[in-house]
C-alpha cells in the first residue's frame, strides 16, 4: 500500500494510545488540510502491510488502530488487512474519511463496505476551513462527525461516539 507514514503512540487520532497509518493519496484536497503532503497519490512510499502489522504487534500499550490519510477508503483492500489484524489483536479501529458516512454507504465498491464493517468509529466529512475549531476532540472542523458505527447500524440512524467521562 502507499502510505505517508505511521505514528506509534499517537494520542490525537482517537482515544488511548494508537497506531496511526497515514495513507497516501487524497481526492478531496481540502483547503487548509493539516497534511497536504498526503494528497498526491504518487507521493509517500510503498509499505508492506505485514511490516505495519508487525510494528503494531510490537507495542502492547496500544488501544487501537487509526486509518488516516490521505483518504483510506481509496485504498480499502490493504486497509481491510490492517483492520482485521488490529481486531485480531484486540484493538479497536478508527478511520478518518473525507467522504461522509452516507457517501460511503452509497459507494459501489464492496471493499468500502467491508472496511466500514471493520471500523468502530468513523470520523467523516471534508475539512472545512470556516468551520475549523481547536476545541474539538479528534477532528478539525465542526461539520465532521465521530460516528459510532456499530451503534449506528443497530439504531438505523447516525449515532455519535460518546467520549468517556473524567
Amino acid at each position: 500500500m502507499r502510505i505517508a507514514g505511521t505514528v506509534n503512540d499517537s494520542i490525537v487520532d482517537g482515544p488511548g494510545l494508537r497506531f496511526t497509518v497515514f495513507t497516501q493519496g487524497c481526492p478531496h484536497a481540502c483547503p487548509g488540510c493539516h497534511n497536504p503532503d498526503t494528497h498526491d497519490p504518487q507521493g509517500g512510499y510503498d509499505a508492506d502491510t505485514d511490516d505495519l502489522i508487525a510494528k503494531m504487534k510490537k507495542n502492547p500499550l496500544l488501544d487501537g488502530l487509526t486509518l488516516s490519510g490521505g483518504e483510506p477508503f481509496v485504498q480499502s483492500a490493504p486497509c481491510i488487512v490492517l483492520a482485521q489484524a488490529a481486531r485480531a489483536q484486540g484493538l479497536n479501529v478508527w478511520a478518518y474519511s473525507g467522504f461522509t458516512y452516507e457517501e460511503l454507504l452509497a459507494h459501489p465498491d464492496p471493499q468500502v463496505q467491508e472496511l466500514l464493517l471493520l471500523c468502530d468509529v468513523l470520523v467523516d466529512g471534508r475539512f472545512e476551513l470556516e468551520q475549523r475549531s481547536l476545541e474539538l476532540r479528534f477532528r478539525g472542523s465542526r461539520n465532521q462527525r465521530l460516528i459510532d458505527l456499530p451503534a449506528t447500524r443497530a439504531a438505523g440512524q447516525v449515532v455519535c461516539w460518546t467520549p468517556p467521562v473524567w
Partner: protein, 777 residues
C-alpha cells in the same frame, strides 16, 4: 641602575632588591639549605647585575623577567634544589593568582553581563541572575567555590572535579549545610513552632494549616541548599479540615438558633450542647455524619426547640457546613499554590524548591484536601498560568487508588486530568518491590516519599528500625562522568569496571570528608532544621551540641551521568539500540550500587546511588570531554550528556519500550530516579492514553515517573495548549508579547526558555516525543 619594576597588571612601582632576597631565603628554607640571608644578598646582587647587563631587558624589567633571572642565577651557582623550590613557589603563586584573576573575571561577568549572555548566571534555572539579589547570590557562590577549591578541598578531589571526572554538587555549600529534607507536618505543628522571630501556635483552621505549611518550607529552605518536601501533605492537612469543620458546624448551629428560634446567645448554647454530646458519646461534628452523633445532638436540641424543628436545623447546619468546608479548603489550597509560587525566600528572587507528597489518606478530610488542591492546581494562578511550585507527587498504591474499586481511585483520575493540563502531579509507585518492602498499612511514615527532583531516602543503615521517609534527607552528592571512563577504556570493558571502582573510591572518600566538615556543625548552625526539630532525632540535642549523630540518618550519595553515551563508547550502541548494551548498562549501575551497599554495611552510614538530576552538569562534562577527545559520534557530538540512565532524548522510541527499558534501573538507584515520557499532542483530549502510560510505569517497577507535554499559553487571548510560531486560537505571532512556555528541567518546571543554560536548551530542542516514528507528515 634599576629603580622601577613593571608589575603583572602593567603598573610601575619602585624596585626593591630586598624582595628578591626574601624570596631566595624562603627557597633556601624550603630546600632545607644551610645558607641564609647573606648568601641571598650576594645572589640578589648578581640577579640585578644580570638584569642590567641584559640588552633585551628594559630599564624597568617585568616581574617575570626578574624571576627568570633569579632561577638562572640559582642554577648557575649550583643551588639546584633551591632553584626547584623557587620554581614550585612561583607555580603555586601563579595558580593562586590565576584563580584570583578568574574569580575577578567571573565577578565582572556577574556585574556587567546579562543572564542571556552568561551561563554562570543561568546555571540554576530557578534564579533570576539579572536581579540584584540574584547577582549577589552569584558573587557569594562563585567566591565560595574558588575559596574551597584552593583552601578547603582535598587537592585530589579538587583536581578530579576541575578535570570533569566527577562533579561535586552544590560545591558553594561545601562547608555550610546539607541538601534537603522531608518535612513531617504532623510532628512540626504539634505544639507549634518558631521561626526565630516569634512563636506560631498549633494551627486551628485549614487556612492557617496551609499558611504554616508554606512557612515551614520557607524557613527550612534557609537552612539547606536543596529542596524542601512535605512527606504527608494529605495526612498533614486533614486535621486542619477536621478542626475547621467542627468550628463551622458549631457556628452554623449557633446562627440558626439565633435566626430561627430567637435564642439570645446561640454561640454559648451551641457550645454547651456540643460539649454535652462529646461528654456522652465522645463524638464531635465531622464530615462523616455519624448517626450516633446526630441522634445525641438532636436530643440536646429538642430540649430547647420542637423535635421537627431540631431535625430541620440539623439538616441545614449540615448542608451549610458541607458547602463551606469545600470552599474553605479550596481557598486554603489555592492560597498554598499561590504562596509557593510568589513567596520569595533566599536571595535571588527564588521561590522555595517545594514538593508535596500525597494520595493515600482515605479519610473524608484528607480526600477533600487532595481534591481541592488538584482543582486549585488545575485552575492555575491568577491569570490561569501553570503553577511552577509545589512539585506535586501523587502516590499510587494498589488497594487505595490504583484500581476502579479502590477508595481513592477518583482522586487518581483527577490527578491524571490535572497533570495532563499542568504537568503536575508526578506519580510515585508504592507497589514497586523496593518501595513495597517498607510499606506497612496504617503507617503513613512507611510510604515512600520523593523530593520533586527525584531524591529518595528510605533504607536506613544507621538505624534499621527507622526505615522511613519523614524527617530525613540527602546530605550531599557527587556524580561520576561515566562517558569519560568509557572513552578512556578504548573498548576494554574490564578496565572500565576497574577504573569505575577507583572513581567510586574517590567519591566515597570525598563524601566522607564533606560529611566530616558538616558533622562538626552545631544545632545553632541550623536554627530551624535542627533547632525546631524538623530533622530526625534533633529533639535529643541541645542548642550547642554537634549534629554528627543525627546527620547519620541522612544519605551520602554517588550519582552518574551519561550511561547512554558510555555504552556507545564501549559497545557502539546505547541501551535503547541493543539488548546487549542494556545488559551491560544494568551491570554498570548494579556494580555502583553494590559498591555503595558494601560501604553502608561496613560503616552503618547510608551510602546510596542516585540517577543524577543534572542541571548545570549536562553541558559541563561534555564540553570538557569534547575538548579532550574531540567529537566522537554518539558520545561527545551533542551539547549535553544524557541524564543518568535515560534513553537519549533524541532517540525515537515508543513509550512502552522506554518505560520497559528504564524500569529496572529504578530498583538499582535507591537514592532516587525518574522516568519521563514525552507526549506528542495535548493529553487533555486523551486522558485514556495518559492513564495507560502511568499504569505501564506502575507495572514496570518504575518508582517515580512523569509525563512531559508542551504547555504553552498565550497571555493575550488566554489560549492554553500547544503553540507553534503563531497562537492557534487568535492567530497572532510571538513578536510583541512572548508566549509563555512551560518546560520541565531536572524535575522542576521553568516558565520560559530564557533561563535554561546552553546544555539544557540543546536537550529540550532534541527531545523526541515518543509518538513520532518515521512520520513524514
Amino acid at each position: 641602575m634599576i629603580t622601577m619594576i613593571t608589575k603583572r597588571d602593567g603598573r610601575r612601582v619602585p624596585f626593591e632588591q630586598e624582595k628578591i632576597e626574601t624570596a631566595i631565603v624562603k627557597a633556601f628554607a624550603a630546600s632545607q639549605s644551610q645558607k641564609g640571608q647573606e648568601t641571598a644578598r650576594e645572589l640578589a646582587d648578581l640577579v640585578v647585575k644580570a638584569l642590567e647587563s641584559n640588552e633585551n631587558i628594559s630599564a624597568t624589567p617585568t616581574v617575570e623577567e626578574v624571576q627568570d633571572a633569579v632561577e638562572a642565577i640559582l642554577i648557575e651557582k649550583g643551588f639546584v634544589r633551591t632553584a626547584k623550590a623557587y620554581i614550585l613557589y612561583r607555580a603555586e603563586r601563579s595558580r593562586v593568582r590565576e584563580m584570583n584573576t578568574r574569580l575577578m573575571k567571573t565577578y565582572e561577568d556577574i556585574a556587567f553581563k546579562d543572564a542571556a549572555d552568561s551561563d554562570v548566571k543561568r546555571e540554576n534555572a530557578n534564579i533570576n541572575g539579572d536581579s540584584a539579589m540574584g547577582a549577589m547570590l552569584k558573587f557569594g557562590s562563585e567566591g565560595a567555590k574558588q575559596f574551597y577549591d584552593i583552601y578547603v578541598l582535598n587537592p585530589k578531589h579538587a583536581e578530579a572535579h576541575r578535570a570533569g571526572n566527577i562533579h561535586i554538587h552544590d560545591l558553594d555549600f561545601l562547608t555550610l549545610t546539607t541538601t534537603c529534607c522531608q518535612i513531617d507536618l504532623l510532628e512540626l505543628f504539634k505544639d507549634g513552632f518558631s521561626t526565630g522571630h516569634g512563636v506560631l501556635r498549633e494551627p486551628q483552621d485549614i487556612a492557617s494549616y496551609s499558611a504554616l505549611a508554606c512557612i515551614a518550607i520557607q524557613a527550612n529552605q534557609n537552612d539547606q541548599h536543596g529542596g524542601q518536601s512535605i512527606v504527608n501533605f494529605d495526612y498533614g492537612m486533614a486535621p486542619g479540615v477536621r478542626k475547621t469543620y467542627q468550628k463551622r458546624f458549631r457556628d452554623n448551629i449557633a446562627r440558626l438558633l439565633e435566626a430561627e428560634h430567637d435564642v439570645p446567645d446561640g454561640t454559648a448554647l451551641a457550645r454547651d450542647m456540643l460539649e454535652a454530646v462529646k461528654a456522652q458519646t465522645g463524638l464531635v461534628p465531622a464530615m462523616a455524619d455519624d448517626p450516633a452523633f446526630h441522634e445525641a445532638l438532636h436530643k440536646e436540641l429538642s430540649q430547647h426547640i420542637p423535635a421537627d424543628a431540631a431535625e430541620r436545623l440539623l439538616t441545614l447546619a449540615r448542608r451549610f457546613s458541607d458547602r463551606e468546608i469545600i470552599k474553605a479548603t479550596f481557598q486554603a489550597m489555592e492560597a498554598l499554590v499561590h504562596n509557593l509560587n510568589t513567596m520569595n525566600s533566599r536571595a535571588g528572587a527564588q521561590v522555595p524548591f517545594s514538593s508535596i507528597n500525597y494520595g493515600t489518606d482515605t479519610s473524608p478530610e484528607g480526600r477533600l484536601v487532595m481534591e481541592q488542591l488538584l482543582l486549585a492546581t488545575e485552575a492555575g494562578l491568577g491569570r490561569g498560568e501553570t503553577p511552577i511550585f509545589p512539585i506535586q507527587i501523587f502516590r499510587v498504591k494498589e488497594g487505595i487508588n490504583y484500581n476502579p474499586e479502590d477508595p481513592n481511585y477518583d482522586l487518581f483520575r483527577l490527578a491524571i486530568r490535572t497533570s495532563a493540563k499542568r504537568l503536575f502531579p508526578n506519580f510515585s509507585f508504592l507497589d514497586a518491590p523496593y518501595n513495597l518492602q517498607y510499606y506497612k498499612p496504617g503507617h503513613p511514615e512507611t510510604e515512600v516519599s520523593y523530593m520533586g527532583c527525584r531524591t529518595r531516602v528510605m533504607g536506613n543503615a544507621h538505624d534499621r528500625n527507622r526505615e522511613v521517609s519523614p524527617r530525613r534527607g540527602n546530605l550531599s552528592f557527587t556524580s561520576i562522568n561515566l562517558p569519560r571512563i568509557a572513552i578512556e577504556a578504548h573498548g576494554n570493558v574490564q578496565w572500565f569496571f576497574e577504573e569505575l571502582e577507583r572513581m567510586l573510591d574517590l567519591v566515597y572518600e570525598q563524601l566522607n570528608e564533606r560529611f566530616e566538615i558538616i558533622a562538626r556543625k552545631k544545632v545553632y548552625n541550623f536554627p530551624f532544621l535542627m533547632g525546631q526539630h524538623v530533622w530526625m532525632d534533633s529533639e535529643t540535642l541541645n542548642w550547642d551540641d554537634e549534629v554528627r549523630e543525627v546527620l547519620k540518618h541522612g544519605t551520602l550519595t554517588a550519582g552518574f551521568i551519561g550511561l547512554a553515551e558510555a555504552l556507545v563508547a564501549l559497545r557502539g550502541k546505547h541501551h535503547g539500540q541493543s539488548e546487549e548494551s542494556q545488559n551491560l548498562g544494568l551491570e554498570i549501575v548494579g556494580f555502583m550500587r553494590s559498591y555503595l551497599d558494601r560501604k553502608s554495611a561496613e560503616t552503618n552510614l547510608n551510602y546510596t546511588l542516585i540517577a543524577t538530576p543534572a542541571e548545570g552538569l549536562s553541558g559541563r562534562f561534555v564540553r570538557i570531554d569534547r575538548e579532550r577527545y574531540g567529537v566522537i559520534p554518539g558520545v561527545t557530538d551533542r551539547d549535553y550528556y544524557t541524564n543518568s540512565f535515560h534513553i537519549p532524548v533524541y532517540f525515537p522510541i515508543n513509550a512502552f519500550e522506554k518505560i520497559t527499558l528504564e524500569g529496572p534501573y529504578h530498583a538499582l538507584t535507591n537514592a532516587g530516579h525518574i522516568t519521563y515520557v514525552e507526549m506528542d499532542g495535548d493529553p487533555m483530549h486523551n486522558l485514556e492514553a495518559f492513564e495507560k502510560i502511568v499504569r505501564h510505569m506502575h507495572d514496570c517497577g518504575v518508582g517515580y515517573g512523569s509525563i512531559n507535554h508542551p504547555v504553552d499559553r498565550d497571555p493575550v487571548c488566554g489560549f492554553n495548549g500547544i503553540i507553534g510560531d503563531t497562537c492557534p486560537q487568535c492567530g497572532r505571532a510571538e513578536e510583541e508579547h512572548q508566549f509563555e512556555r512551560i518546560r520541565r528541567i531536572t524535575g522542576y518546571l521553568v516558565g520560559t526558555l530564557d533561563r535554561f543554560n546552553n546544555g539544557k536548551r540543546a536537550e529540550e530542542r532534541d527531545r523526541v516525543k515518543h509518538a513520532l516514528e518515521d512520520c513524514s507528515c
